[in-house]
Amino acid sequence: MRLLFGIVFALAVAAVIGLGTTWVALTRGTAYGGVTIGAWTAWPKNGTPGIDPYARAMVARTGELPVGSGDGVAFYARTDDAGLTLDGRCDVLVSGITPQARFWTVTLYDPEGRLVANSMQRQGFTSQEIVRRADGSFDILIGPRARPGNWLPSGGVEKYVLVLRLYDTPVGVATRTGREAPMPSIGRRACQ
């Protein structure tokens, strides 16, 4: 009886621990080999055959196809520079320059990777659409209300993810620091 109890107990605990840690690892995004610059993180290795098992499992779960390393690299931001979750009810300023790349795009998604609906049908900018200052730097204002300049509507969603993709770029597996790859800052302004 005691033995039976022990086995059942052990199996139950093992299942909870095993499945629980897998779930946490795959939903919280704890893939190895990330390059973090400011609020942005990229996993350049995910676009190569050297992708680690956790990232493979994550990709299989979400159903996305990672950007191939010969194509480009994708940087994800879920928070601003101060660590605050990106909130569609607040005005958020993305400002600065991007690393060297032939083209780049910045896109706003909900945490599951769906585009966010808005009346403008605008979900992002390409490097050619952006209005810049004379020195090449730019400001993108993300918020629920229309603004002059590069306004990216947030649709008022509670949480969102910004993805900055660099195409045909030297940034990749070998990149380590922000000096090699200057990413734009992300700062929260007023909230509604």
Binding site: R56, R61, R102, T126, R165
Partner: protein, 180 residues
């Protein structure tokens, strides 16, 4: 008490095994992965356009809406494939994924260095079977070796401004992937 601690220790160890096993097995058991999602819309060994992502629906999550995308779901079991796509004005890339969504190769228009990205896709065994004299011409013939018999070729053409969408779509419409 000691008996209880031992049971707990065993449970934790078993939990670790369960964790590793699920992480390693998940890619082969996933039914809603990228390959499965594309399979639902794409026939074998043909290039077809992927609908642009909208807030309501998208074939895959985290698709870049600034791109026109086509896919070729390939099957090399009957032989090698010839692939070609004319490059669009802005930026064109071709990425190769295995059956389990691993990006094993990607090339862009500049790396291809021509007006058309042309290549042969084959398995390692098919490549080994190539006649010797054909290998000599390999300098102007790009050969990509697929680690798996099936997989995906994803062709992306950038639409840098909305007005360019037709040009990008046209370039992708001329893409071909057919058995040799």
């Amino acid at each position: 008490m000691i008996r209880m601690t031992l049971w707990l220790l065993g449970a934790v160890l078993l939990g670790g095994i369960v964790h590793l096993a699920t992480v390693l097995l998940l890619p082969s058991l996933a039914t809603r992965d990228g390959y499965a999602r594309v399979s639902a819309i794409a026939p074998v060994n043909a290039v077809i356009p992927v609908p642009a992502p909208t807030p309501e629906q998208a074939v895959m999550p985290f698709m870049d809406p600034a791109f026109a995308v086509s896919v070729c779901r390939y099957d090399l079991s009957r032989g090698a494939l010839k692939f070609s796509v004319p490059i669009s004005q802005a930026y064109t890339s071709v990425s190769f994924y295995t059956r389990s969504d691993v990006a094993y190769y990607a090339i862009n228009d500049r790396a291809a260095g021509r007006r058309v990205i042309e290549l042969d896709l084959m398995t390692a065994a098919q490549r080994a079977d190539l006649p010797e004299d054909q290998d000599i011409t390999a300098a102007d013939r790009l050969i990509v070796t697929s680690p798996t018999t099936t997989g995906l070729i994803v062709i992306r053409a950038l639409v840098p401004e909305m007005g360019w969408i037709t040009a990008a779509r046209n370039a992708l419409a001329a893409a071909q992937c057919r058995p040799q």
